[in-house]
Amino acid sequence: MVMFYGTELESRLMLGTSQYPSPAILEHAFKASNASVATVSLRREGREGAGQPFWDIIQQLGVKVLPNTAGCHSVKEAVTTAHMAREVFDTPWIKLEVIGNTDTLQPDIFGLVEASRLLTDDGFNVFPYCTEDLVAADKLLGAGCEVLMPWGAPIGSGMGLNNEYGLRALRSRFPDVPMVIDAGIGLPSHASRAMELGFDAVLLNTAVAKAGDPVKMANAMSQAVTAGLLSSQAEPIEPRDMATPSTPVIGQAFLS
């Protein structure tokens, strides 16, 4: 069974909580998604606990909360935000984002490794938002991370798995590390594909929150993740060039 810092998750879908039309729709989407984890940002909302009314709504979802450091561009900001998150949500879990470029929102790998080390030394369970880079993954594990969160594509882009080769290489290089595909998912088929490749969970937000019908899309994502997970456990057939009949043909009367 896959454990995320000692916790087994009932559902392999993690859902973000930003950009929904209203908190009521967010709640309905969570119910429809059956997600086991809710990510929540604090950097912008957090000043002196001012985000509490919204955080109360998140905590009442009844799922595990994974606070994040979205919007942090430096190690210092990320570490400060992580500490605030630990106080507010009373959890050592932190999804660590250190953004290196405002256009692509891609992670600053150097800052990410440094912040991971500081936070794991301080008792945090770090979920680092990283790329498919093998060397960076190795350094993050060396810095004490026990879970990796490689991107599928840039945050909010909805492009799916941009570098499937790279992700496959990452998966097979670290077969025992729990990995969550985080960011870039646009369609249920992307989420299914991530699970088929052997990733352990999928984290998405925009694909649901900005869909015309967020609740229906949440349901679709839930089924897609389940389908992908079952498929990866079911030992799918190998593709081949020629047809193979599923019933024997020799001795049958051919009508056409």
Binding site: S22, R44, A50, K210, G212
Partner: protein, 326 residues
């Protein structure tokens, strides 16, 4: 009927008072101040009457009831019926397509048609959505006009305590009513007012962006309102550098001529909202509470006022009346 006491002289309180007056009900208004001003969150609003644009993210009720707003306001203040325009930079084409798909009553226009409407957009945008049937008002003038009309009809706006007798009370205090309406939350918004004679936009313009959407509303005489952030926070004191950078750089992207504009005001306040971001009218212990208009104060206050009046006078419950609340 004895005089009805209305608590709160923001956009909801004034609209309710005005609607009741039109139905020959005598009212008194009670507020911290006797004039509309920065203490009311409706002071900081954009004043767009844009029901179709709002359906990009709002519930269907906002679009439906919002369509009544322009007619209601035009009997009471100056409504500018020039439509509104939605644009996106070419790299945000998917946001433009999404907006187009989720809204209605718009026309896709390009090139010359955009230049005819807003010459100062300077060919910056290859295509735009024109919402011809939308309008805008100046919220501060609207509040002043409503106040003046009420005073002329003999309504008093008083800073005294409202009477503790059996007369009817309507509570329109916005977020301050959180002491009774515990499920009310504040959603932070930051805005700017700037002035320049180098830009002459005639109608509200929305610039779509995946993270930093902006709208600009012309207030006349070179004054523009830029808004607004939407942050799930109840910090009503502090305006962040990031928010200002985002709003101003979006305005600059719309027209570099804003670069030399003067900054006249920076505003921050909290929008009162319930969980579904829709208004609610509740009757608790003989007091009617009208609240939670979120980002749609001027758009929905007329409909809320009508439903409050219907509840008070005819005991009929409109769609915003929350009968399940205990």
């Amino acid at each position: 009927m004895a005089k009805v006491s209305i608590i709160g002289a923001g956009v909801v309180g004034l609209c309710v008072a005005n609607e009741l007056l039109a139905r020959n009900v005598k009212v008194n208004i009670y507020d911290k101040k006797t004039e509309a001003g920065p203490h009311a969150c409706s002071w900081w609003a954009g004043g767009m009457l844009a029901p179709f644009c709002e359906s990009e993210s709002a519930e269907e009720e906002v679009c439906r009831f919002g369509q009544e707003a322009a007619a209601w306001w035009s009997k009471r203040t100056n409504v500018i019926n020039r439509g509104s325009l939605v644009v996106a930079s070419s790299r945000d084409g998917s946001d433009f397509n999404r907006f187009k798909r989720l809204t209605s009553n718009h026309e896709l226009i390009s090139g010359e048609s955009i230049a005819n409407l807003e010459p100062d957009l300077n060919d910056k945008f290859a295509r735009a959505l024109f919402f011809e049937n939308e309008a805008h008002i100046d919220p501060r003038i609207a509040l002043r006009d409503l106040t003046n009309q009420l005073r002329q009809a003999g309504v008093k706006i008083s800073t005294a305590e409202p009477p503790r007798d059996l007369s009817k009370r309507i509570d329109c205090r916005g977020l301050a009513a959180k002491d009774i309406l515990h499920d009310l939350r504040g959603v932070k918004g930051e805005m700017l007012v700037i002035r320049t004679n180098d830009v002459s936009f005639q109608r509200p313009i929305r610039l779509l962006h995946p993270r930093l959407p902006l709208y600009i509303v012309p207030r006349g005489n070179g004054v523009f309102m830029l808004g607004a952030t939407t942050i799930e926070s109840e910090d009503r004191e502090n305006v962040s550098v990031r928010s200002m950078l985002e709003l101003l750089s979006a305005a600059y992207a719309l027209s570099p001529s804003f670069g030399e504009a003067e900054i006249l005001e920076i505003g921050v306040d909290l929008r009162p909202a319930f969980k579904d971001n829709l208004p609610k009218i509740r009757k608790i212990d003989n007091v009617i509470y009208a609240n939670g208009l979120y980002r749609h104060g001027y758009l929905l206050a007329p409909a809320v006022a009508k439903q409050v009046a219907d509840l008070l006078l005819n005991d009929t419950a409109g769609e915003f009346v929350d009968e399940n609340y205990h």
